[in-house]
Amino acid sequence: MPNQNGSVYGLTILSPIIDDERATPSHDLQIRNYLAHLSTREESPFAQAPGTHLARLVVMDDVIYVGAPACEEHLKSKYLIFESNCDGDLDGYLSGLATSIPDHLDAVWKHCVGYPGAANHQAFVEYMKACQLETTFFFAAVNDKTVNQTLRALQTQSAVADFIASHQGADSATLQREFLEFVAHLKALPPPRPGSMGPHRDIKTGGRNE
């Protein structure tokens, strides 16, 4: 199934952006502005809504003409591209978005042609599916675990690494006793919140000249 890789779904949505000369700033710039100020950590809308492994929102203006011998071509419209790697069933995922982050969805998609709003869940799901393209091929770093299972695994990995580092050289009896305590403690911990496991990296990354 081309939209599916293991239990992960690869969603691609292309929504035409409203073309209105009288709008200032233009609808595409208003989307860009909203997206530029979204958090990429715990406060991200996709961390608040369930089931997103990763998501990407891009405003596509047009095809860039790179000079001869390429031929010059143009899109009929500007588009908002929404790509998401999410858990399982598409209807459930889209309804989950409409339930958890309707304000964010409306703030972005109100600039798109024919958007019905997130308040009417069924209309929202139908609209999104009408804009959907077949993904055909995508890469999922982890394709057989849900978001919550992945978060739990990362939490366990990090906790076990800390346990090892702090127990090197311990005698067997202490090691066993403290390991059992550690396992019980770890099991009782709530899973980490989506977006909270990323490191606070104090380094800039990006384009070659930033």
Partner: protein, 461 residues
């Protein structure tokens, strides 16, 4: 490709001089016309890449400029703006990209670097202290006669002396300076392991354009370079970083960890870097140092990591495996051929033998200088992705054990086997063993380009 015109390239680019003492003079330009005249007077002193058939000279002189320095020489705006962005920015401005934060941030640098005072670097190397002093005195008198430029700082550096002999050791006790890449057309006694890995397992020199501007690089393209071509050609870019070494912290940390590591202290020290302290590569001799390997140029750098994917011989995060991963990322090493840098440099400060009292506050460290055609693609990439991050090696956020900016929170994993002599081990709570004290990016022009600058002939049209 035909042979390079070695007499047009500064000698510092083509060979490590292996002279035991050095002084780096940092100049500030005040008057363009008089400074250009000064450079004209210095030009006959500049050491070129010409072969030393008659033996090594008593001393050498080389010169390089910051972008700010080139501005003060009144180069045309079109030329100044054609330099790569990272060189125009300078190293201080790139701190965020390089991970130079915390104790390494520019706020903690020496005044001369903090205040952007440096316009030029003059590197002087000597056979003896006397030869070095005589050469520096000559340069100083030329500077005084010419006016227009002042020496705002000097930095002495020297090979670590052990038992009265200069060595290639650095302050943590490791033998340094093994692997510099080979390049096409550069005459040098090449050795296996120093160029690029070929699919048949042999090594070949890298494209000249990975080191020198004006030549094809590994992608078959000319490196990004300023205009006119003649100003750039046979020149290169240099990174200068003054790296303070916290030797007391390093020794105390190693001692503390060695109490828990059953493989022994010297093996743990070797795991940090990927070589035993005498220089024997762990890949070739995982159980003990082997001087016969170190002394054999056909073996000392001839190894790969393909047979050690788990890192049980050389840890995946060991310093030399990070900064020169060879075949560790697959594809016969092709992912690293455009990330190679040529290292120059010497330690500074007094060497304190193991067992003697030592303090972190004493002035001691290494002057790291690296040459490359592209600062952003080569040095900055290595620093950002391989030193300050671990993703390419599947090590998450772990940084380079030795030179990473850890702030007390670093972790280094020694992969191992189920044995007492080579156990898995985790070093945590890594402190900063090395602290950056300043530096900048320099353009090291060809002899022709220096002449053009002196005579005001740089014409981008």
């Amino acid at each position: 490709m035909s042979k390079l015109n070695e007499t047009d390239v500064q000698g510092f680019v083509l060979r490590g001089y292996n002279l035991p003492v050095a002084r780096y003079l940092f100049l500030h330009f005040e008057d363009a016309q008089r400074t250009r005249k000064l450079i004209g007077r210095l030009l006959p002193e500049v050491t070129t890449g010409q072969r030393w058939d008659g033996g090594k000279p008593d001393s050498t002189v080389n010169i390089a400029f910051t972008h700010r320095g080139l501005q003060h020489l009144d180069l045309p705006d079109v030329t100044l703006l054609s330099f790569p962005v990272e060189f125009q920015h300078g190293m201080k401005h790139r701190a965020g990209i390089l991970g130079d934060c915390g104790v390494n941030s520019p706020d903690h640098w020496e005044k001369v670097w903090r205040e952007d005072r440096v316009h030029a670097w003059i590197g002087v190397n000597g056979q003896t202290t006397e030869a070095l002093e005589a050469c520096c005195a000559n340069i100083q008198s030329l500077i005084e006669e010419a006016g227009g430029a002042t020496i705002v700082d000097t930095q002495d550096a020297a090979a670590v002396v052990k038992n009265g002999k200069p060595t290639t050791s650095e302050h943590f006790g490791y033998t340094d300076g093994f692997g510099n890449p080979d390049f096409i057309g550069i005459e040098r006694s090449t050795q296996p392991g120093q160029g690029k890995l070929l699919p048949n397992g042999t090594w070949a020199p890298l494209a000249t354009g990975e080191l020198l501007l004006g030549y094809a690089d590994e992608a078959g393209e000319l490196p990004v370079a300023p205009i006119p071509h003649l100003l750039a050609s046979n020149g290169t870019f240099m990174v200068y970083r003054k790296m303070h070494q916290n030797v007391a912290t390093f020794r105390a940390y190693l001692d503390r960890q060695a109490e828990l590591y059953t493989g022994g202290k010297e093996k743990l020290a070797a795991k940090f870097i990927g070589r035993w302290r005498d220089g024997t590569p762990l890949e070739l001799s995982p159980d003990k140092p082997d001087p016969s390997i170190v002394q054999d140029p056909n073996r000392s750098t001839d190894f790969t990591y393909g047979g050690d994917g788990e890192g049980t011989r050389c840890p995946i995060g060991a310093h030399i495996r990070r900064v020169h991963p060879r075949d560790a990322f697959g594809f016969n090493g092709q992912l690293i051929n455009r990330r190679r840098i040529t290292r120059r440099g010497l330690p500074y400060g007094r060497f304190v033998p193991e067992g003697e009292p030592v303090s972190d506050t004493e002035e001691r460290g290494i002057i790291f200088m690296a040459l490359n055609a592209s600062l952003s693609r080569q040095f900055e990439f290595v620093q950002q992705q391989w030193v300050q991050y671990g993703n390419d090696s599947h090590l998450g956020n772990d940084k380079d054990m030795l030179i990473g900016n850890h702030g007390g929170r670093g972790r280094f994993v020694v992969q191992g086997e189920a044995s007492v002599t080579n156990p898995p081990f985790v070093c945590s709570g890594l402190p900063d063993f090395v602290e950056l004290r300043g530096g900048d990016y320099f353009f090291l022009p060809s002899i022709t380009a220096l002449g053009m600058i002196v005579m005001g002939l740089v014409d981008p049209r």
